[in-house]
């Protein structure tokens, strides 16, 4: 990995992908993309240092609209791809992205286990409480009573709480953003990238086409940044309490964070020396191979 490019400071515009987003006009995901482009440029990152990995969904199209290395993987599978890639090249900034269906539904198992694994990854979920790409069915975060094409009589299942789930599963930085508050969103993305460990950033990113309930009008009067009230984000109990609030007030900001746990990369001696695994010498040395064979004798 030779850095031949001079590392000029970049602006958000330098992170424009090869094509323009094809999201519906007004889709919340534009806000997330813009927030991400601003955050990485403000952090002084270069496109080649970032690996953006998504699943499938409207929101998962993001890597194509963002200049970095990217993987646009399978529905629900952004996190295991991101984990494998991070372990192979732990010097890259790895950002997993996707939707609520992708991450909390079909990918729910990975969400739990990636949280407890504590790899140094930011997981950016564009939560619109609906399946956008498949034209409007309920998602795991849809509210009870939500009427969609697949629930014409209203959903009767309780939505999952991604914030509470992430905290109990062991994520070391858990936050929520809202595309109606870009300043906060940029700050959260930067903090999430800089956090050492698994960071979940669930972002309310309204689907203007299929979710007629959780709209900007719905969120605007309700969202309350935690930084505006008294909240100790190092206390997981307070974090859980705030995570359970859902009604006239819905919190955004950092619910919980801790720096007391080592990341998986830090605990893995294989990564101690020698740089990223992806760029290491492949052949075993004779000392290693002789030891293997001698143990068989």
């Amino acid at each position: 990995m030779s850095d031949t490019n001079t590392q000029l400071p970049l602006t958000a515009k330098d992170f424009k992908g090869k094509v323009n987003p094809d999201w519906c006009p007004g889709c919340g995901d534009f806000g997330v993309l813009n927030g991400l482009q601003r955050a990485v440029s403000e952090l002084g990152l270069q496109p080649h240092q970032i690996l953006t990995i998504s699943g499938i969904g409207c929101s998962s199209n993001l890597p194509g609209f963002f200049k970095s290395y990217g993987m646009h993987t399978l529905h629900g599978r952004s996190l295991p791809h991101a984990s494998g890639a991070k372990l192979a090249n732990h010097e890259m900034t790895v950002i997993a992205t996707g939707g609520d269906g992708d991450g909390y539904g079909i990918g729910g198992n990975h969400f739990t286990h990636t949280s407890r694994r504590n790899l140094n990854i930011l997981y950016l979920v564009m939560d619109n409480q609906i399946y956008g790409l498949t034209t409007g069915q309920i998602s795991p975060t849809s509210e009870v009573g939500m009427k969609t094409k697949s629930t014409p009589h209203g959903s009767v299942e309780l939505p999952i709480n991604p914030i509470a789930n992430a905290i109990t599963s062991g994520a070391t930085w858990v936050a929520r953003g809202y595309t109606g508050n870009i300043k906060q969103l940029v700050r959260l993305i930067k903090e999430g990238i800089e956090h050492k460990g698994f960071a979940l950033l669930d972002v309310f990113s309204p689907c203007v086409t299929f979710n007629k309930v959780n709209t900007y009008q719905f969120f605007r009067p309700r969202v309350q940044p935690l930084e505006d009230i008294e909240h100790d984000s190092s206390d997981w109990k307070q974090g859980m309490e705030k995570a359970m609030v859902w009604g006239d007030v819905i919190h955004t900001g950092v619910f919980f964070k801790t720096n007391t746990r080592l990341t998986l990369e830090e605990q893995e001696p294989v990564l101690d020396e020698g740089g990223p695994l992806a760029y290491r010498e492949l052949s075993l040395n004779s000392e290693q191979t002789e030891r293997i064979v001698s143990r068989m004798m």
Partner: protein, 592 residues
């Protein structure tokens, strides 16, 4: 057959420690330069049940556990009751007469009762009957006691010196008792020669991958593939390999793809059920053109099936793995050594053609323990990563990940290089990686990209060696097989020769892509063809017929969970040559 060729079976309940005598015998033979092959018939149970380990030792390399038992060691009554009837004249049975009643033996079978309690005296413990039995076994085949004492020392020294001393003492008493009271076996072990190494089948897969430069290995435990994970985990730190056990096989394949895309040589292994969960990821690797190697160690299916039994039942699962039509490599090695020698090449091919490679093993290969000549273990194979871009060059800022080329191979830039940023997608894409649906779903672009990917199969086929017939080209009958049955077919051919029947052998290892033209030519040149496979429906025949249009004359199939023995094939071939039948399903004698 001349020379030394002796089969020892050890039966007991799971948890009774049949592995220990098995390991002691393996090491004893290996150190003496005697070839050994062990097959364990067991059940998916941690305590109780019945296990029956068969260790065949010979002065030449053997690839099956043989037809007959020369010596049986009973660790419990159940073994005596179940298997005494399988012993014929000239064989012996060793048992602990304190706890086991002898049964009705066929005339000419020597019963060797050992009063373990009396021999072991106050130092007796439950596992000492194992040492007693092995000492008698050594005495019967003429291995001097000091050789056994050395191995006992090796086996128990990690635990305690007292344990070594106690075992050596009881072993010596048993050895002397045997010399005074029993008839030696009709064969005696050859004099010591160059020592051999011992390995388990799964270890061969893991070692090969390590030597080929695997830096990422990921798995979810599933018999009979777990041995690969265990070896990798044990050696990970020393060899600098990232080894992870993760939440499920979907995560396994996705992490493997992620790590491979980031630049590591990456492998994962599972059995059929886990492979079923992986399939979407197989197609993704095909679409994104990410090189990965997947080992599917088949067990008897369908569904959870028979976890501790063997079968060649997953062929169509791997052929059809994942939606869509995409390039992939599928092969079925014929032995641990074949796997060891082939796997580095598989990594090279996966890298060169940027596709998923699927290695079909089965319980028979992966679970075996056998000796191997250490000289054959080349741990420094050729490593060729193909057209890989690892640093910035002239294509900076206009790199196309899926560039159209005549070979279909597009140079692959690893993430991290300035100016080569690109997105790999599971959606169909254009040469620069942009999804075709982001522009408009353009049929000509789709067609061009489909053809680019599929062109790789042409080059790949040329890189694979065509099949060959081994043996007399004028043979009366050609035995056709694939994968793990190579060893037993080869031995059956030797036995057929003794019976006056000239047979030769056509064995397939490389399955996709398939050398159809060469296969047709070979098959058409045969006088008579019989296809042997470890499944019910003739899954390989169905595939081969599809590729070649050639229908074989007869079939020998087994799907009871146990592998073929040479005599199963010999008897079936004889019957088929007499014109009686065209489908034989041999009867399994040993019930475990």
């Amino acid at each position: 057959m001349s020379g030394f060729d002796y089969v020892i079976s050890i039966g007991g309940a799971a948890g009774q420690g049949i592995a220990t005598p098995g390991n002691i015998l393996a090491r004893l033979f290996a150190r003496r330069g005697i070839h050994m092959y062990a097959y364990n018939a067991y059940q998916s149970i941690i305590r109780g049940g019945h296990s029956f380990l068969t260790v065949r030792c010979s002065d030449r390399e053997v690839r099956t556990h043989g037809d007959d038992i020369d010596l049986m060691i009973c660790l419990n009554q159940d073994t005596m009751d179940r298997h005494l009837e399988h012993l014929g004249p000239g064989s012996s049975v060793i048992f602990n007469s304190d706890t086991i009643e002898p049964g009705e033996a066929t005339e000419g079978v020597q019963l060797c009762p050992m009063a373990v309690g009396e021999l072991a005296g106050k130092g007796a413990n439950k596992l000492m009957q194992n040492t007693v039995a092995i000492a008698v076994a050594c005495q019967l085949i003429g291995i001097e006691f000091s050789a056994l004492a050395d191995v006992l020392e090796f086996q128990f020294s990690a635990k305690s010196e007292e344990l070594v001393a106690a075992n050596v003492e009881v072993g010596k008493a048993a050895y002397d008792y045997s010399a005074a009271n029993f008839q030696p076996a009709s064969q005696s072990a050859p004099q010591p020669s160059e020592p051999l190494a011992v390995w388990a089948g799964n270890q061969a897969f893991a070692m090969a991958a390590a030597s080929a430069g695997v830096k990422f290995y990921c798995a979810y435990p599933m018999s009979p593939s777990t041995g690969i994970l265990h070896w990798m985990a044990e050696n990970a730190r020393e060899l600098g390999i990232m080894v992870r056990q993760v939440e499920d096989e979907i995560s396994v394949i996705c992490m493997t793809v992620g790590a491979a895309h980031a630049g590591c040589r990456s492998m994962c292994a599972t059995s059929g059920g886990g492979f079923a969960l992986m399939t979407e990821g197989v197609g993704e690797a095909g679409m994104m053109e990410v090189p990965i190697v997947i080992v599917n160690v088949q067990r008897a299916g369908p569904s959870t099936g028979v976890p501790t039994k063997t079968e060649q039942g997953d062929l169509w699962q791997v052929l059809g793995a994942s939606q869509g039509d995409f390039p992939k490599l599928i092969l079925a090695p014929s032995s641990p050594l074949d796997a060891f020698q082939t796997i580095p090449e598989v990594f090279n091919l996966a890298d060169k053609y940027q596709l998923p490679a699927i290695i079909l093993s089965d319980l028979l290969i992966s679970d075996e323990t056998s000796t191997i000549n250490p000289e054959l273990l080349n741990m420094h194979p050729v490593i060729d990563r193909g057209e890989l871009i690892t640093e910035a060059g002239e294509e900076v800022d206009n790199y196309e990940r899926y560039k159209f080329t005549d070979s279909g191979i597009s140079p692959r830039a690893l993430p991290g290089i300035p100016g080569y940023e690109h997105v790999v997608a599971s959606d169909e894409h254009m040469p620069n990686g942009v999804l075709i649906s982001d522009e408009y779903t353009h049929p000509h672009k789709r067609r061009a990209m489909m053809e680019k990917r599929q062109r790789k199969m042409g080059g790949l086929l040329e890189d694979l060696p065509p099949p060959v017939i081994v043996g007399d080209s004028n043979a009366e009958v050609t035995l056709v097989g694939w994968g793990s049955t190579a060893g037993v077919i080869q031995e059956a051919i030797e036995q057929l020769a003794t019976a006056g029947i000239v047979a030769n052998h056509l064995h397939f290892k490389w399955i996709v892509p398939f050398h159809a033209d060469e296969a047709v030519e070979l098959l058409s040149s045969c006088k008579r063809t019989i296809l042997i496979e470890n499944n019910y429906s003739g899954l390989f025949h169905r595939y081969m017929r599809g590729e070649t249009g050639f229908t074989v004359d007869g079939h020998i199939r087994k799907y009871d969970g146990e592998p073929f023995k040479p005599h199963h094939i010999v008897a079936a071939v004889q019957k088929q040559l007499e014109g009686e039948v065209t489908l034989s399903v041999p009867y399994e004698e040993i019930i475990v």
